[in-house]
């Protein structure tokens, strides 16, 4: 503009417009329909911000290096040139130097006739693409890329979020009825089913694991695993996970209706769970930490943070820490994490066939997790004297407490005397532990 200021108009294309509409859609769901507003508003706003060209909020600087030695024959781009992935930047006598990511040129460091050695810097690039830092290291230079790199990619914010979730979680219903741990385990079937389907669709093992873990229905676990195994698809997997957590009231009921009869849905469960002592509630996070981490050491950051948060809650002597984790800290972490996740979805990255597969596989993961929980509950009923309502198996999809609330509503519809909320909280919470274990297993094998 006037030769002084570059505006974003000339770079704005249909992809940006579509992503902004999607972001606005999330914000509408949050404000208009009251669906998970604490998550969807920052995610939606982050999507809008990053899809306004030249905003710079999610920019990374990368040095493009010569893959082999040679003499520069021709420089094919100028400073401020914008490019897609795989476009030649310059021609050497030994071959072309192509862009490994989409972005724009910040500065060209070579000229025709110059001799370059392998590894010499050809150009400095600005990109918004998430890369494998061991292969293509980048330096964050935007507000949200800095938060993303040091919060998400350094695996700090997801475990902190898990600490807050631990402080917010009451393990009482699960401790009162430990059978529900099996239902939480069954729900992890969705993780592995989506993992297999992902491989059929051509995703690599780390990508398939990152997509499969969506079935654990835990945002922090999904972000944590994906940030390590497949950071380039973190936007798609995180938005799939958080979106489907908000859509649990739509995803779960058809699965439950398909797999249960009217009589099964009306099975009455006594509302009174046994009273769990304070000593049990204090001992469980300690014993749980030791057992789980001895089996799966790579789950330590998630399980450790989850359990210490719960210990803050249950010890009775760390009320300040518990209160902070349940209120201020969870709000701060939510703001940073969800804004950064929303901003990890520029149109050039998100609008690809891969993303559509991820979104579809996410639904498969959620639905099959719920189905597996219901089916295991029905199998357990063959051996139990006091039957359990199989709908509580669907609450193994650990979107806490939304899945349990859905089961409660459906239970009341089937039998007005039934109060299933506390019974459903058992598998709900067990599913959170199961998801963290499943994530730890993937990391232990594939990292």
């Amino acid at each position: 503009m006037f030769g002084l200021l570059e505006s974003g108009f000339h770079l704005f294309y249909w992809g940006n417009a579509l992503m902004i509409v999607i972001g606005l859609g999330f914000i509408y769901l949050a404000i208009g329909k009251k669906m998970e507003p604490l998550l969807l508003i920052p995610i939606g706003f982050g999507m809008i911000l990053v899809n306004l060209p030249l905003s710079g909020v999610m920019d990374y600087e990368m040095q493009l290096r010569a893959p082999q030695a040679g003499i520069v024959m021709e420089v094919q781009m100028n400073e401020e040139s914008h490019f897609k992935k795989g476009v030649p930047v310059c021609k050497l006598d030994s071959g072309e130097v192509k862009t490994p990511v989409f972005g724009r040129i910040d500065s060209i460091r070579v000229f025709p006739g110059q001799r370059v050695a392998k590894g010499d810097i050809i150009a400095s690039i600005i990109t918004m693409e998430q890369t494998d830092q061991s292969v293509l290291p980048t330096k964050p230079i935007g507000l949200l890329s800095i938060i993303f790199k040091f919060g998400v990619m350094w695996q700090i914010l997801p475990p902190l979020m898990f600490l807050c979730l631990g402080a917010l979680t009451d393990f009482g219903p699960m401790l009162a009825n430990p059978k529900t741990l099996l239902l939480g385990a069954a729900a992890q079937f969705g993780v592995y089913l989506a993992f297999f389907f992902s491989l059929f669709f051509g995703f690599t093992l780390p990508e398939a694991a990152s997509i499969g873990i969506i079935g654990g229905a835990e945002g922090p676990t999904t972000i944590y695993v994906t940030s390590i195994l497949a950071p380039h698809i973190i936007g798609a997997t995180a938005v799939a996970c958080y979106s489907y957590m908000a859509l649990v009231p739509i995803i779960l009921p058809p699965v439950i209706y398909l797999l249960t009869t009217k009589k099964e849905r009306a099975i009455y469960m006594k509302p009174q769970l046994r009273k769990v002592s304070k000593l049990e509630k204090v001992l469980f996070p300690l014993i749980g930490t030791v057992i789980v981490i001895l089996f799966v050491p790579s789950s330590a950051p998630l399980i450790g943070c989850f359990m210490v948060g719960n210990l803050f809650r249950e010890s009775g002597v760390t009320e300040r820490l518990s209160k902070t984790a349940q209120t201020t800290l969870v709000d701060i972490v939510t703001i940073f994490l969800t804004l950064a996740i929303g901003a990890s979805m520029p149109a050039q990255n998100f609008l690809q066939p891969k993303t559509l597969f991820i979104l579809v596989l996410g639904v498969v993961a959620f639905a099959s997790a719920a189905g597996a929980g219901v089916i295991l509950a029905k199998i357990m009923n063959l051996f139990l004297k006091e039957k359990i309502n199989p709908m509580i198996g669907a609450a193994g999809v650990s979107a806490v407490p939304m899945s349990a609330r859905v089961v409660q509503v459906m239970g009341q519809k089937a039998n007005k005397k039934n109060f299933l909320l506390m019974h459903a909280m058992g598998p709900n919470v067990a599913g959170a532990i199961g998801a963290a274990i499943a994530g730890g297993v993937f990391l232990g094998i594939l990292r």
Partner: protein, 44 residues
């Protein structure tokens, strides 16, 4: 090229491990209940 052998090992092994760990936790919860009830009873 997908290593299907490894994928099957990861899926079956991983799912089994999740079950084993959660069953172990369930058993430990039962044991903790028994032991804590005994401790509380002895105190009384």
């Amino acid at each position: 090229m997908t290593d299907w052998g490894l994928a099957i090992k990861i899926a079956c092994g991983g799912f089994s491990l999740v079950f084993i760990i959660l069953v172990t936790l369930a058993i430990s919860i039962k044991l903790t209940k028994v032991i804590t009830e005994r401790i509380i009873k002895d105190k009384q």
